[in-house]
């Protein structure tokens, strides 16, 4: 490209694309989110073929490609299976509010489930003090603050019990 093609400045057009949605949770997530919001309970769904208890509940067990139908209530405690200490602010895109770093973000498998749930973990952000296999419990917001979203969970916190393998 010859130099004469270059203009003396590059013009740009700023634009905010703002698209509104009204999402339907659907049959499976509606029950899950309403039980969480109204009763503080967690439910998984069991595959009739492989027996895997999936959370969140969903219509099909993907590896088996069969319809899930059996609801299973899960524990409010579970086991930490992975974690990180976040040093980046994590902004909740649905509210625009950031979680101030550093904080611990971890994946917990609730008792009775085969799936993990990733959320904040309320422990000191020190990798030496956190162990995969630690027992965790869910801490929920008070009923009146819950909306039917994973943000109804405030965080996980350590629970009594030996570290699991």
């Amino acid at each position: 490209m010859s130099q004469t093609n270059m203009p003396r400045e590059f013009i740009s057009v700023p634009m905010t694309v703002d698209v509104p949605y009204r999402f339907a949770a659907g049959k499976y997530l509606t029950r899950f989110l309403k039980e969480l919001r109204d009763n503080g309970r967690f439910f998984g769904i069991k595959c009739p073929s492989c027996g895997r208890v999936q959370m969140p509940p969903r219509i099909v067990c993907a590896p088996c490609h069969v319809r899930n139908e059996e609801w299973v209530e899960l524990g409010l405690e579970g086991t930490l299976v992975g974690f990180t200490v976040m040093y980046l602010p994590l902004t909740d895109p649905t509210t625009g509010k950031p979680h101030e770093p550093p904080f611990v973000y971890g994946a917990v498998v609730l008792d009775g489930a085969d799936s993990s749930l990733s959320h904040l973990v309320n422990v000191e952000p020190d990798v030496e003090k956190i162990k995969v296999g630690m027992r965790m419990r869910v801490v929920l917001r008070p009923r009146e603050e819950r909306t039917g979203d994973l943000s109804d969970i405030l965080y996980f916190e350590p629970a009594a019990g030996p570290v699991q393998d």
Binding site: S2, N5, I11, V17, D18, W71
Partner: protein
Amino acid sequence: MTEEMDYGVFEVDQHITAHSRYYAGWMGSHFYIRLRDEKKIHGVRCESCAKVFWPPRSTCGRCFSQLTADDLVEIGPEGTVETFTRVDYEEPVHPRRAPLIYAVITLDGADTGMAHFLGEVDFDRIEIGMRVRPVFAEERKGHILDIAYFKPV
């Protein structure tokens, strides 16, 4: 299996909001600088197609020729209405309140049209072939709305 219970429907309102910035490119920047600073409208001539295109572009879509800043030619400012419509509904993506009168206008000297607004005109008196000229915005910033609208000549 657990008892079936009617949980009804659950709907949640959310937005996806993305802040973008689109670069006009080197050819488009020439166009916008001249529009902003000189109130002049340019198209680009493709020699091999013998056509003048608006908006100016650096590749001719028809023959794939590479075009340069030397191929820019001033077009208009007057032009001819090729088609038009009006919308009375409001949408957040509209730059101004309805009703909006849209038209495709082929500027004199160009072979392709510009989609833009018509203003200062009674909708019922607009017709295809009507001659129009641009009304430039007072404050121009290198944006398509540096042309406020076109009005009948």
